[in-house]
């Protein structure tokens, strides 16, 4: 009897002491989290702003989801760059994609520094942007289309109808075009170098991606007579 009892006690010790999330009352599709879980606020300044506005009092009793493994509060972390890395990624090779983007940022820095040192006057030097992240942001912003064409069938005829884009969709298109332009290169040129060139060009409002955007807008302009066909 005594042995059974000691064994039994040992079993109890082995049991987990940390609180388990196992009993979910509300199912949320295939998600592990119930619907009322909020997304984590992992950036320090965002959290400070939240506390300053006093809205954290409302979140006091609401549980948060765990922060994802690509989210940190480090100053080097950037959401848009993270998204861009995900778009560059092929076959789930994230370390490679991250490396490529980092290398292209380095190339941007090198190219800009080269330009900077070639400049003679101080005024010209002041004009050159040296921060790759700012260049990245302006490039993405400059490549965002405002309209795009969608085929709509009316009376058996397919019309290309110009339709406004949401911010998210236009951001996606701009990143996609940048990556596509960087991939369109000679086999001797490295991807990161080409991407760096495209980024710099786009930030200066020149280059292939900007041209692509303008072509799309030109087409939209040509088809503006069909604009009233759209329903969404």
């Amino acid at each position: 009897m005594a042995t059974i009892k000691t064994l039994f006690n040992k079993c109890q010790i082995l049991k987990s002491k940390t609180p388990l999330l196992s009993t979910f009352i509300q199912q949320n599709g295939m998600s592990q989290y119930p619907t009322y879980y909020i997304n984590p606020i992992y950036k320090k300044d965002a959290l400070e702003a939240l506390i300053k506005s006093g809205e954290d009092q409302n979140l006091k009793h609401i549980p948060t989801r765990a922060a994802l493994n690509n989210q940190t509060c480090s100053t080097a972390h950037d959401d848009l760059v993270n998204l861009f890395v995900n778009y560059v990624m092929k076959d789930g090779l994230k370390p490679l994609a991250r490396d490529l983007v980092a290398q292209s940022f380095e190339s941007v820095k090198r190219l800009q520094l080269e330009k900077y040192h070639k400049c003679q006057s101080e005024e010209e030097k002041a004009k050159i942007e040296l921060n790759p992240k700012t260049i990245f942001y302006t490039a993405i912003n400059n490549c965002k289309p405002i309209l795009h064409l969608t085929p709509i069938k009316r009376g058996g005829v397919r019309y290309q109808v110009p339709v406004p884009l949401t911010d998210k969709k236009s951001e996606f298109l701009s990143m996609k075009w940048l990556i596509a332009a960087a991939k369109e290169k000679d086999s001797t040129v490295r991807f990161h170098l080409q991407l760096a060139r495209e980024l710099i060009d786009a930030a200066n409002n020149t280059g292939r991606v900007i041209k692509r955007k303008q072509d799309l807008h030109r087409q939209c302009e040509a088809n503006r007579a069909y604009a009233h066909y759209r329903w969404s």
Partner: protein, 393 residues
């Protein structure tokens, strides 16, 4: 002795099924079961005025008696089984609680079944068999409740009460406006962190089955009541139908740090899990920011992302050069191991931080354990979601 207990449990299960079968067909609207006290009371009356009893009442009384006998029998068997179990486990039957019973059953009949309800169990019969309603009508067959013929008397009673409260509060507000008074802002009802009880628990509370539409109108009525400026006057009534989303103390009560021979405080977190990785993390304070993972430093991880994850909680709490970390992990890949260590560090750091920072960590999603795992492959499909390429023939 083991065998006897098993027999007890087995027979109990069989009888449970029989009991359910014999009780099943009688759950009609007009007749519902009662508890013992009411039954005795009404039985006495039947002897006195036999001719005055309605057919429905008679049928009900028969069924109630049957049910009570059945429950009595079940209860006796349960008590007997509990004594047997206590003897087997070498404990006193008098002090053997339900918690002990559950543990004993889990120990004696270990089950690999995934569904918890399908595992062997031994519970008091009140928990196993669903609660029945008491008689809702008197001897002549006349219902007690004025909403009896709605079919969901208790549910509509709740709605009725809610509307009554709304009307009362509106009248009260009018009176207050006439007096020139305003509602007290400090007493305003704060409902954040609570939610309405879900449909199943409402059904269990009312002992009635209700539809989705009914539940919707229940929520709507209560939300209307809550939106009134004087709703704090009926706080107790509202809170009966709300349940908390999270108990805050869960994240906040950290263990007291222990002290080693050098006088340094340390906290060890066991069972740091993420994906297939398992590990434990020890935090020592004061320290110099040394990190050792399986005997190596942070270069144990080749990937930058994993290294970032490991120092995330330290960076977030500004403890990066103030504590030493020792971690042992095994299983899984690098990402899972880094996630496990991240959670272990965040969980252990609570002992060295104040409440405010812990709350910040909770909002940053550091204290939540990430239970997401790989989704299983399905038969007839290429993967978890992907289907095979469709071929016509």
């Amino acid at each position: 002795m083991l065998k006897t207990v098993f027999n007890v449990i087995k027979t109990k299960h069989i009888q449970t099924n029989q009991g359910l079968q014999c009780l099943g067909p009688f759950t009609t609207q007009a007749c519902k079961f009662s508890n013992t006290s009411q039954l005795c009371h009404s039985e006495k009356q039947t002897h006195e005025e036999k001719q005055n009893i309605s057919k429905a009442m008679k049928a009900y009384l028969d069924r109630a008696r049957e049910h009570d006998e059945f429950m009595n029998e079940q209860n006796q068997e349960y008590q007997l089984g509990k004594r047997h179990l206590a003897n087997m486990m070498g404990e006193s039957p008098e002090t053997f609680t339900q918690h002990d019973v559950d543990n004993a059953i889990e120990y004696l009949f270990p089950s690999g079944l995934f569904e918890k309800k399908a595992r062997p169990m031994m519970k008091p019969p009140e928990e196993v068999f669903p609660q029945r309603k008491a008689a809702e009508f008197d001897e002549t067959g006349r219902p007690h409740h004025f909403l009896f013929y709605t079919g969901k008397a208790s549910f509509y009673q709740v709605l009725h009460d809610t509307v009554q409260h709304i009307v009362d509060l509106n009248r009260f507000e009018d009176a207050m406006i006439r007096k020139g008074m305003r509602p007290d802002k400090d007493q305003k009802i704060n409902l954040s962190g609570y939610q309405w009880i879900d449909k199943d628990s409402l059904e269990a509370k009312l002992v009635e089955t209700i539809g989705d539409k009914d539940y919707e109108s229940f929520v709507q009525a209560f939300e209307r009541l809550c939106s009134l400026p004087y709703s704090y006057k009926v706080k107790d009534f509202i809170m009966e139908y709300r349940k908390p989303l999270m108990s805050q103390t869960k994240a906040h009560d950290a263990p007291k740090p222990q002290y080693d021979e050098n006088g340094r405080a340390f906290v060890t977190t066991y069972e740091c899990l993420r994906k297939s990785a398992r590990g434990d993390v020890t935090i020592r304070s004061p320290g110099t920011g040394k990190i050792s993972i399986n005997g190596e430093d942070i270069t144990y991880f080749d990937l930058l992302q994993c290294r970032e994850q490991v120092i995330f909680p330290l960076l977030f709490t500004n403890m990066i050069n103030k504590v030493d970390i020792e971690a042992n992990v095994e299983g899984g890949g690098s990402s899972g191991q880094a996630g496990a260590i991240r959670w272990g560090i965040a969980w252990g750091l609570r002992s060295f931080l104040d409440q405010e920072t812990i709350e910040k960590m909770r909002l940053a999603g550091l204290l939540t354990r990430d239970y997401r795992t790989r989704e299983r492959k399905k038969p007839g499909q290429q993967g978890a979601r992907r289907k095979f390429t469709w071929k016509k023939r």
